[in-house]
Subunit: 193 residues, 2 copies
DNA sequence: ACCTGAACACCGTTCAAGT
DNA sequence: ACCTGAACACCGTTCAAGT
């Protein structure tokens, strides 16, 4: 058991962050791991599958971070989810862009979306509004993460401290709108009963 | 003057939409155009430059659509911009994803952002708030367009009519929040003067 | 001056040969 | 059973040769 799958994926992540996805080839990865090409193909069926695994690995850390946060209130849960996604994007910009580009494989939007969906349903939104709000916030988070990742992996430009504030500014707007909607809906329900 | 640059870019766009970016090679493009590879390299310096041109071409149509819309009110102008971006994403899903992934080349976020920025400054927002609101809406539009484009170019799934409504739902939230902010700011200014 | 075919160095992937 | 080198068909890009 000299060469393990997670070892392959781990160094693939490192190489992608260091030199970009375009510079990653099976041969380069093999020499970096100090092995031939065939052992790679024994662990991972193809390069596409390798990239899928990379995307899934980077995105799966988001779920762990969210679970660590342990927020009870629904809006704080959604906020924690959004921040975790963004933080991962800042930590692994190039792999995050890769993962956003392979949504089917990374499961990034789906997993985050279903977590948030649960939070909103628990909070009392009906199914339709929950889905809409989740979709809207997800689009915002995705777009923010993507832009920050592009900036971070761009030509040596530091992301700047303003981005954090701006991200929270937009996120707050969404959450406040959702809170208002919930209040209006709760009022309706109270009137109806 | 048998083979023009825009001809090359045009068929590149067609091929990308038909078979995906991964299937586009200089040789395939050459045979589709009925010429050799060298004439291609005389018009376009490299494949990367070709993809940059494709991205820029697809994104430039957005500006035209916005100019056609001719909305006077600031919020309608921003709305038209957002819709134009999204519509282009639905019309050319694969090229739009490509363009989003090459922001430096396509100039997509920057051009849209500066248009919208102008609209907000004209409306009376100060520079800081204008920039924040534009960044937030841009992130939302980008994320929405990206997701819809992925769905549209995915495994034969129609985008569904719900997406339009959901997009407007989220966009309305942002614009309403901006309107409230403007009202509050206007009130402050009135009090101060 | 412009187009062609062959060539270079790479890539993903696979196969036959070695231990 | 596992690893190696060579091979296949491709790719982006360039060069020398043709008209």
């Amino acid at each position: 058991m000299r060469l393990t799958r997670s070892q392959i994926i781990g160094t693939a992540i490192e190489l992608i962050e260091r030199d970009g996805v375009g510079a990653l080839s099976m041969r380069v990865l093999a020499t970096e791991l100090g092995c031939g090409i065939v052992p790679l193909y024994e662990r991972v069926p193809s390069k596409a599958a390798l990239l899928d695994r990379v995307a899934a690995a980077v995105m799966s850390e988001i779920e762990l971070a969210v679970r660590r946060a342990q927020q009870p209130a629904w809006n704080d849960r959604v906020r924690a989810q959004a921040r975790a996604f963004r933080d991962q994007g800042l930590a692994y910009p190039r792999c995050t862009v890769l993962a956003i580009g392979r949504p089917a494989a990374s499961g990034a939007p789906k997993a985050c979306g279903e977590q948030a969906l649960g939070a909103l349903c628990d909070a009392g939104f009906d199914g339709r509004d929950s889905a809409r709000i989740v979709r809207a916030i997800l689009a915002y988070v995705l777009g923010s993460a993507f832009r920050d990742a592009c900036e971070a992996s761009g030509p040596s430009r530091p992301p700047g401290e303003r981005n954090d504030e701006d991200f929270e500014f937009g996120l707050d707007h969404f959450l406040r709108a959702a809170e208002e909607l919930l209040a209006a809906q709760g009022g309706q329900q109270a009137r109806a009963s």
